[in-house]
Symmetry: C2
Subunit: 376 residues, 2 copies
């Protein structure tokens, strides 16, 4: 196994790419979907089950972990991998996005962000330097720069000022990260939906130099069309030989469109959150298991799916346990959804490698258009 972080591009198909990220904790096949393990657990799943879905890496949230159980405590317990019993790679976000969306009483300055915890109201400070320190204590394999991003819509002036602050913070993140062999630091491109700002941001990041580059500031309410509009050009501003990570995306069709446009990594709470609210994702679109039409349906969610939920349980059962508020409902639907997402990623990787991505995407949309089959 390698002792350093590396990315090998294996094939391209149009703008889409497939490759391998090597880390000391294992390989990540790209395009990769990262399940979210916010509070040191992918909700409703055991780590072995997450791995069984095909996930090569998961995401931890710095903001949540610094507040509870605390980064120093995780470090004393041997780091996040050991603490949560997940030995494969972990990417941690910087806390920047979540402090702006979740914390109370935020105060943003050039230095960083002062805020109060949503858990107990206690005061905290996050900056490029403290975020790097916390992510180091957690022991994450891929560390994200501390950045800031305004909710869209915002004026171009506000987006530009925010992006330039994030670029100054990117330099401070790089300086604070130091030299940590085997660990990667990713820069985060900002600039909203303005091409010139995206280009300026990409150039600023490359002048600093990072192990990978994220496209930030999307999936914040701008809609799929605007997001794809940015992805039509933004990945092209980034170096070909480094992984490109689209943060917080998304629905299956968002993922397919992002991969078509040259994205290598994504994360989203959607498959796990949906699983806990009775929503299942299948090749035929979304299935709402609480709908009464499922109550006598002996079929699985997806006849072709090989996950434990579809191999072992009828829609009638899933409907029953959801209605009865049994934990197994969230456990089985989350497993199914994560399995479906990983199957989708595997299909995308294979299609890109075989140079038949267009056909794969056409089939993907055709099956979704058929919709979920009603019981006879």
């Amino acid at each position: 196994m390698t002792t350093r972080f590396d990315f090998t591009l294996q094939a391209t198909d149009g703008a889409a790419r497939t490759g391998i990220i090597d880390t000391p904790r294992g390989q990540i096949r790209t395009p990769a979907f990262m399940p979210v393990g916010t509070a040191a657990t992918v909700k409703a799943m055991l780590p072995d089950s997450v791995a069984a879905t095909g996930a090569d890496i998961l995401l931890g949230n710095t903001y949540h972990l610094m507040l509870r159980p605390g980064a120093e405590r995780v470090a004393r317990m041997g780091g996040l991998h050991r603490f949560m019993n997940w030995q494969k790679p972990i990417l941690t976000d910087s806390g920047g996005f979540q402090v702006m969306s979740l914390a109370g009483l935020r105060k943003l300055t050039e230095e960083g962000v002062t805020f109060s915890s949503h858990v107990d109201g206690s005061k905290h400070f996050l900056s490029p330097e403290t975020s790097m320190q916390i992510q180091k204590l957690l022991g994450s394999d891929i560390v994200m720069c501390f950045d800031e991003c305004p909710a869209l819509p915002a004026t171009e002036e506000a987006v530009a000022a925010s992006m330039r602050l994030s670029m100054r913070w990117a330099q401070r993140s790089r300086d604070a990260f130091g030299d940590r062999p085997g660990h990667a630091l990713f820069g985060i491109m900002q600039g909203g939906v303005t091409r010139e700002l995206r280009e300026e941001s990409a150039e600023a990041l490359q002048a600093i130099g990072f192990d990978g580059y994220a496209v930030g500031g999307l999936a914040v309410g701008e809609g799929q069309e605007a997001m794809f509009g940015v992805l039509d050009y933004a990945p092209g501003f980034l170096p070909v030989d480094r992984p490109r990570y689209l943060m917080g995306v998304g629905k299956p069709d968002d993922i397919v469109g992002a991969v078509q446009r040259g994205i290598d990594m994504m994360d989203c709470v959607l498959p796990s959150r949906s699983g806990r609210t009775g929503q299942a994702w299948t090749p035929r679109g979304q299935v709402n298991i609480k709908n009464a039409r499922h109550q006598d349906d002996p079929r699985p969610l997806d006849e072709d799916c090989t996950c434990p939920c579809c191999r072992g349980y009828s829609r009638a059962y899933l409907h029953h346990v959801f209605r009865a508020k049994e934990m197994i409902s969230g456990m089985l639907l989350t497993w199914h959804n994560l399995h479906y997402y990983q199957q989708l990623m595997a299909g995308l990787r294979d299609a890109i490698a075989a140079g038949r991505l267009d056909a794969f995407v056409a089939e993907f949309h055709a099956r979704r258009a058929e919709g979920d089959i009603e019981p006879v």
Copy 2:
């Protein structure tokens, strides 16, 4: 594999017994602990995980299943085993106990019990005949007679009248059950804490004839001393060559005492319910994982335990996920508790087979007396 229900006594040690119950769905090693799968799921567990703890059989609740999803629906889905994806034996209770403790607006007559559902207020009727029909629709391997039992303390007259009603219902249950090869019907001894009534009940049941005999009407608030008082004589009123089932018991020391007194089967929600409220059972007694003393403790719940919870997770992690209200908390603690219970049963079986039950029980109590070890 056998096509019929049978019980083979393999060894005794004092009043304690170990043996094998054969069923078409597999063997049950006795003394056996049955996890409770009230609503077609052992809460917080997948069936494969329940089997991995060593459970040979689980219990389903007729009252809950008849109300939701409904016995006819379960039958249409291929029976309870297929519905809940558990292929080993299932015992169902008769609904009698739970209708008296959970349902609203109960009306008890010689014929049966009319009641309203706690789920939606709908009206239902349970009698020996309907209970047998519902348990047949569920497809359970071990069916329990429909009975009635007063909460203790009660007057001896009330206990006697209730017991005699249950004996008339036992005859009606036997008649309604009919001839179902491979399926067993168990009678339920009543009589409270009165020796003469217990003896009368046991004789009435044996005159009817059953595949096994339960000791009912205990674990209803009488306390361990009174329960053991009854168990000092009641199992002796039952035939040696049939399994004896103590319903709704219990804590680990209840189980040990019951096995010492000749009980072969038990069930209880305690290990799974405790798991969801942050209580773990270990050889050293109970551990309350929400206690702050665990927050920096790198040790597992039990250093000697081989369950996935103890192999993979520190007390610090378990404390964290309990405080963060993460589902993995209930999943891991329930797994641990069920594993501990099954390990205890295996230890009891081995000790009885080896004729060293007294030494095993002495060691059991000695370790509990040591208590949970505080962190250094």
